[in-house]
């Protein structure tokens, strides 16, 4: 009797495991299909690319801002995260055609250059810091910024670091 119950339990759990996986996969696929079904056209697909990139950029941006604000983080870790942000922006922009979104990706890139300049300056690498700052100024000037002086960019990015490090997405601005 006990053996029979144990066998029933074992087979039940095998079935339940398979059912759980199948149910999970099925419902998850259904939800994802429902989410993207209105965006089958080329314009819709372009929107989804921008949508995914903007979400990813904010995610990495918050991660890098947290590392910049944390005094225990090493310059290597900070560089690593900032380079990940640059990489995300660079790879993501290839699929985006909306000029407004492309300019905003440039803005994010420019702000990341300023952050890299500040990391290098703090690490005592002044030539690297100046090179990043010049890249930032060129990028942000092209994005239409009125004041792209070093002092202004540093002040602005310091404030953004504080905000980005502790904000959840909905707490922004």
């Amino acid at each position: 009797m006990l053996k029979k119950a144990a066998l029933f339990g074992l087979l039940f759990f095998v079935g339940a495991g398979l059912g759980l996986f199948a149910g999970w996969k099925g419902s998850s696929s259904r939800e994802r299909w429902r989410e993207g079904r209105s965006f089958g056209s080329p314009a819709g697909r372009d929107f989804l690319k921008t949508y995914n990139l903007m979400g990813r950029l904010l995610e990495v941006n918050m991660g890098s801002a947290m590392r910049l604000e944390d005094p225990k983080e090493s310059p290597e870790r900070r560089r690593e995260y900032l380079n990940l942000l640059l990489d995300t922006a660079q790879k993501g922009r290839t699929g985006v055609t909306d000029p407004a979104a492309l300019t905003l990706i440039d803005v994010e890139t420019g702000i990341t250059y300023v952050r890299l300049a500040m990391v290098e300056e703090a690490a005592g690498n002044l030539p690297a810091s100046q090179a990043w700052m010049q890249k930032a100024q060129t990028t942000l000037q092209q994005a239409g910024w009125k004041d792209y002086s070093e002092a202004h960019l540093t002040k602005l990015v310091l404030a953004m670091n504080k905000q980005d490090a502790c904000d959840c997405p909905r707490g922004k601005r």
Binding site: G19, A22, S27, E35, S38, Y51, L58
Partner: protein, 152 residues
Amino acid sequence: MKTLKFCGIAVSSGLLIGALVGWHFGTTITKGQLMFGEMFASAGYGQLAFVQYDQADPEHARQALRGFTDFAKSMGKLPSAQGDQALLVDTGRAYLRLAAIEALSGNSTLSHQYVLNAQESFRRMGRDFPEEKLNQEVAKINALARPIGPPS
């Protein structure tokens, strides 16, 4: 035969219960993930658009805000964005800034249209602001603003 029936009942009852539980949690968790993704995307675009409005010349500021309002319009088609009040607030704020830019440029018709768009956006989240109050907001934004060039 009896053993096979016994095994079949055990597996199929487990499958049924597992599938129901999996379906329920799969739906709930995927919906949560999609909502989280939607929040990140709208906040990411909105944040950059508002930074661009603050820092860039009027032409680029217009482009960024229009880009955001178009993006928000497309986001309205996403099931995960239904009921996202923060997106409607950000869209309303973007329209008010666009209205301010156009008012300073002397495009009163376009400015008025943007105020109406802002009003509609706030109305969709259940806040019915009178047009007069929104015009006051536009005037407040312009009081802090800088000289604006002609539109494209």
